[in-house]
Symmetry: D2
Subunit: 334 residues, 4 copies
Amino acid sequence: MVEIIEYQPKRSELGYTFGGRTPVLRIHPGGILGVACEDCFGGRIRTGTDLPSAVCDPQRLNPISGPFHIVGAEPGDTLAVHLVAIEPARDWGVSATYPAFGALTGTHQTPNLQPLLAERVWIYPIDQDTNTVRYQDTNGLHHVHLPLEPMIGTIGVAPAAGEVRSTVVPDTHGGNLDIPQVRPGTTVYLPVNVDGALLALGDAHARQGDGELCGVAVEIAAHVTLLVDLVKGMTIPGPRLESDTHLMSVGCARPLEDAYRISQADLVTWTQDLTGLDPLDAYQLVSQAGTAHIGNVCDPNYTLVAAIGKTTLPGVIAFDGLHQRLRTTAAVLG
Amino acid sequence: MVEIIEYQPKRSELGYTFGGRTPVLRIHPGGILGVACEDCFGGRIRTGTDLPSAVCDPQRLNPISGPFHIVGAEPGDTLAVHLVAIEPARDWGVSATYPAFGALTGTHQTPNLQPLLAERVWIYPIDQDTNTVRYQDTNGLHHVHLPLEPMIGTIGVAPAAGEVRSTVVPDTHGGNLDIPQVRPGTTVYLPVNVDGALLALGDAHARQGDGELCGVAVEIAAHVTLLVDLVKGMTIPGPRLESDTHLMSVGCARPLEDAYRISQADLVTWTQDLTGLDPLDAYQLVSQAGTAHIGNVCDPNYTLVAAIGKTTLPGVIAFDGLHQRLRTTAAVLG
Amino acid sequence: MVEIIEYQPKRSELGYTFGGRTPVLRIHPGGILGVACEDCFGGRIRTGTDLPSAVCDPQRLNPISGPFHIVGAEPGDTLAVHLVAIEPARDWGVSATYPAFGALTGTHQTPNLQPLLAERVWIYPIDQDTNTVRYQDTNGLHHVHLPLEPMIGTIGVAPAAGEVRSTVVPDTHGGNLDIPQVRPGTTVYLPVNVDGALLALGDAHARQGDGELCGVAVEIAAHVTLLVDLVKGMTIPGPRLESDTHLMSVGCARPLEDAYRISQADLVTWTQDLTGLDPLDAYQLVSQAGTAHIGNVCDPNYTLVAAIGKTTLPGVIAFDGLHQRLRTTAAVLG
Amino acid sequence: MVEIIEYQPKRSELGYTFGGRTPVLRIHPGGILGVACEDCFGGRIRTGTDLPSAVCDPQRLNPISGPFHIVGAEPGDTLAVHLVAIEPARDWGVSATYPAFGALTGTHQTPNLQPLLAERVWIYPIDQDTNTVRYQDTNGLHHVHLPLEPMIGTIGVAPAAGEVRSTVVPDTHGGNLDIPQVRPGTTVYLPVNVDGALLALGDAHARQGDGELCGVAVEIAAHVTLLVDLVKGMTIPGPRLESDTHLMSVGCARPLEDAYRISQADLVTWTQDLTGLDPLDAYQLVSQAGTAHIGNVCDPNYTLVAAIGKTTLPGVIAFDGLHQRLRTTAAVLG
């Protein structure tokens, strides 16, 4: 019988950093966790007149639920988090232009002297029956239903080297990855940097475009169901993902080509480790068969995903088949 | 009855620049062109022992066929090139590690002091029956069939401002875009910078991974069939693409986030022009519904594609429906 | 009578993060601090055969002395640290090529597949009489004396938003700036993010070239004398510097143009605030009269300095004349 | 007796590309050239109400005088151009904010959706007696005299590989370098890519700040005196500079760190070639003794200069002492 834990944070328990916080729960490898996550604005934007700069504290964006102490996790291990379900907690999501944030505006990291873009809020009704969200422009000219494709924007562990990072930052510890592939059916692998790993997550999206262009997805509060497991004695340099069909490596960096290089170089190395190919042959195979997927081009680090299809690597089993075992467990839950 | 033209260049007629060359043919808008294209190595690499640095002149890579003078094209117009078919001319393709080229090595633009990667060639047999190419590693450990997905790596017109650019460079005139979406069924729109536009193309790929990681795709010679047309009096800032399902804008720049910004900003502007949305509403719609696709992360400029599905823009017709008319013509040909 | 404090950390008291640590001392504004700083390798490399990867823990590089609690410092204030003297603690300095670190090699942030550069150590004898350090190549072909120009590589405060950052990182809290202008005679201004500010410093350099090309300067342990003061109720967005002749703003970012933009934009804003010029006039003045100085192009963020000469801004007094008052105090000490 | 040539272009003879043009004159190595250069706006902006977007053709900015055919220059040689004098042709210079151009605004390469900065012109009276230019803000609040430090913004040769490049672009052929070190007393070395080299120049500046922040320096028309010479059979990968005190390598690229890498890597290689040091020892020496100077952070490629003092390389003679011989000749002229 697996351990089943539900966690609903009080508002005061929400976190704004990875690292530097006391665990809220202990979970054993193999355990199942149900966790309530607020949206990136802490639920404070509920109508088109709730402007982020008026209702949000800029140092308290992107709240996360956790951290969860994974029993037995030690530096040098890899944490596996299988996403079973992401259920919207409300019947709407929200997006916005946030001052000095987004890919098509000056920001604190890419400043300019031009007047800022106007701040505006869009509310997206969610229709669970049709699995869509509804876009409506400000002037009532145009509306369209877009697929509801729930994902987790922010998931990570305590960083290495005693660092504590804001939840708006993605890096090798995970964090604000904003990658659509972090969705139900995916296993997220994260390096364990401290005893207990200290997993935390939040910032669900009903959907997002590639790159999270304006800096804000269709943000939702959500109930997330996940399976937690541990790969003892195996280290990874940064986040990796696995779906039924693909192996994926994540790169977090600026400029964006460095995120590309990090993700692709890790995928080449991983391919090499799994297949025994020599380095140039692995480089060649990923060059022709690999894909690249843009997570965010707006956060303090940009994120890119390098992916290779499992059919390209016949017979290869990653992490000793853990993803498949987690899928099987998840199927029983469903 | 449409004009039908076949063009097979002599080796001496191959070009290595966009601009600066005399047209080889005149084509009327509405014309059909069948053109033979060499591979990026000029067909000089035929076995695993033909190393690029030994058999190729570094200033004569990426040969193109053309240029073709499009009758009536003037600066301020937009050229439309609909790709009907790309047929491999040989039963193999070739890839390689080329010295100081590729995303995971130092290059002339990103130099370092480390020893260079070894130069190596991979030959990919093409199986037209199964529509695959066959990857085989150097040590005989691993082989796999990958989908044959022919595309044109290099297509463009004479640049603006009297410039002449090497065929290895992608920019607002097109050129070495290395974008998988430039495939049969796609219409490529290019700005006309000089009288006659001076279209040229080459560098077909049997397939490539996203980013053309090692700098070289599965390179093939090919016979390309295309329809040429003209949008008079309409200017575009750089290449755009249209398929049956998507509108796409292309950005060419370094660093990669600038290619992202260029492509997404153009798609926002285009969306705004087509729908009448205000700028922030168009920004918002593309932010949630848009996708981004990586072309190359190895050429002198990187390329990114911003795309939006036509179902997201119901009732919208781009370029006065030209793509659909070209599709209809192409269907008759097929 | 001013407060005078000497601080000599035990090895166990050395810190490896900004933030997350208990103050070692309390200092009142106006106080004088004498502090012993280890070199970036913790003094572990003493001969050419002490390779960094063999003798150093990669998570314990760049030790700092402190943090010092500045009495009365609160978020919203600006901390002023005037550097009076930096005296080498030993009669030698050390440099090295460190694996996967430096501007002309692949790194964890800009990875490649090439073989790594060799690891090598250079010892630089310091001659206090001639104020030089002596470069000697490995094969005894060439030696030359270079000016001894002591500077502090790493100086900062606790970061904002509850973050804790490794001492190898420069950012808005200061940290591993690696800027030659952080030298005796300069006042360093830092934003106060937490009560007490929590100043710490280390990583002295006998000298460095612009950009710290190979990633390692001529690293020294040093005794540093500094004056500490406080500007109440005035916030700055990141580090600023003031010398007798120049006002300077520091930008920390990747890519390097973003560090340029941050530093220059802050200098434009600062110029505007000090002179009453309109924004475009301040932009124009800095455009023609400003200079830019490269700190590092190797750390997790690169650093650039924007500077403007005080003769360009006649009558302008920054921070209410604090730098001049600190200079006067320092002169008495000298 | 040396050859002395004066060249004053008619307006119709001004060029807007490097490459693609017929030589206006033939000059023998060892010849002296006096050449009149227009300012970057072609002299069209003469008062504060002449806005660039109104009076200039965006495809005809940055006019150059030339090209000059250097007799005997062949691909594989290096052209040496020693700058003897740069004399302002008028008693004023001009700067401006140009739409979508400059480092602190969105541009065509780094677009955003914010409103553009206002377009504005500043006229700088030149005082030859005090060797200054006079800055005056728009509202009459502030004026200051800045040193007159004439330099050539744009100097280059025909590019390699049959390319023709706009005069606004800097790259390995030179072009719009916008580097303050290109001033009287400096020898500029350029690779010869075509027979006759096809030297051209223009775009003089009365002065500029580092990075040419707003995109426009204090632009002047000028009479330039230069000595032309040739280093037969020696190739360089891009522009190099030599003054009485320094050897310098120029890097042109985006992002800015790549311009840094290119310039520093070339300086390391050059140092190695001149001294016989092994590569890592040369890397180390440049790391501690080298400096870096920012040219532009606004043009299609950014430019950085890596420099090393000649006192650091005792006994070293570059290009067989050509700079010193040209200095001697220039001294006779003066």
